[in-house]
């Protein structure tokens, strides 16, 4: 395998790993439910996309013929990730989960009296 392709694959793998890690960090560390949703929907999709492209490039250079199965995984992920995020956000609104005080805008789904003084408690001292 040429060095350039090897370097490219490793770069993609490392970048993918970093993005997935940051996405999970966001999910663990942000202040309220709605903000936590942002991590897994975005950072993780690109991270997994990077890994799948790396996998595609690797098997292309090993087997010598291109293979598009990984593209399908990416496609399915891009279709399902926003839908699941939407459903999670919707159920969060339905359960009237508290949101961070600094959040602006008052949707009718969350009436003013339902929003607590403090954001959702979290074991760590989140900085957000």
């Amino acid at each position: 395998m040429p060095v350039i392709i090897e370097a490219l694959i490793s770069l993609l793998l490392v970048a993918g790993g970093i993005f997935v890690f940051i996405g999970s960090l966001g999910m663990a560390h942000l202040r309220d439910f709605y903000m936590r949703l942002h991590g897994p929907t975005k950072a993780t999709t690109l991270g997994i996309g990077c890994m799948l492209i790396a996998s595609m490039a690797y098997f292309w250079s090993v087997d010598g013929k291109p293979d598009a199965q990984e593209l399908l995984i990416t496609l399915f992920l891009f279709i399902t990730a926003p839908v699941s995020a939407h459903l999670l956000a919707k159920s969060g609104l339905h359960l009237r989960l508290k949101h961070a005080v600094k959040t602006q805008g008052h949707p009718i789904e969350l009436r003013a009296e339902e929003v607590g003084e403090k954001p959702v408690p979290h074991p760590d001292k989140g900085h957000g």
Binding site: V83, H86, H99
Partner: protein, 165 residues
């Protein structure tokens, strides 16, 4: 574009199913074409009653351009969100935004909501029952109007032109 027939209610979906089948089995043998082809005809026939009216793609090239634009935005969105999460000195300004919809078809609204969830700092949270506005949660917003305008010009208008004209 192939016209819909009684035995082939959704030509585009059938072709898509066939392509996905061939990619999944990783083989382009004749038998796989026959099997995938019959599945591609059978599945829409069995399921097409459940669905809404299928929108017609008016401008395929604009759709392609839209897809590439969204892919590019997904990449920048990831960098932005990653920076927002990883930066310990950040001051996030989360915001619930009511987005008045211009689109009318349920299918295109779904596309728009998915696009919003995948792109910079926004997650679509709720579609109101009347289908006239979308509730968006944004991670970091300075100017609400600017964000609404950006979504309107960048995603909603192209979608409207592609499907609803």
């Amino acid at each position: 574009m192939i016209a819909p027939r009684s035995w082939l209610p959704t030509p585009v979906l059938s072709i898509l199913l066939l392509v996905v089948w061939l990619l999944l089995v990783r083989s382009y043998a004749f038998g796989q074409f026959v099997l995938g082809g019959s599945l591609a005809i059978l599945i829409p026939l069995l399921t097409h009653r459940f669905w809404d009216a299928r929108p017609l793609i008016g401008k395929p090239f604009m759709l392609l351009r839209f897809i590439f634009r969204v892919l590019g935005d997904i990449i920048t969105a990831n960098f932005e969100v990653a920076y927002l999460i990883a930066n310990p000195w950040r001051k996030l300004k989360p915001h619930f935004i009511e987005y008045p919809l211009m689109l009318e078809e349920r299918f295109t609204i779904t596309l728009l909501a998915s696009t919003i969830s995948l792109t910079p700092g926004t997650v679509s949270a709720n579609l109101r029952m009347d289908g006239k506005s979308l509730l968006i949660h944004a991670l970091n917003v300075d100017d609400e109007e600017a964000l609404i305008n950006q979504i309107r010009e960048r995603y909603e208008r192209p979608l409207k032109e592609i499907y609803e004209c």
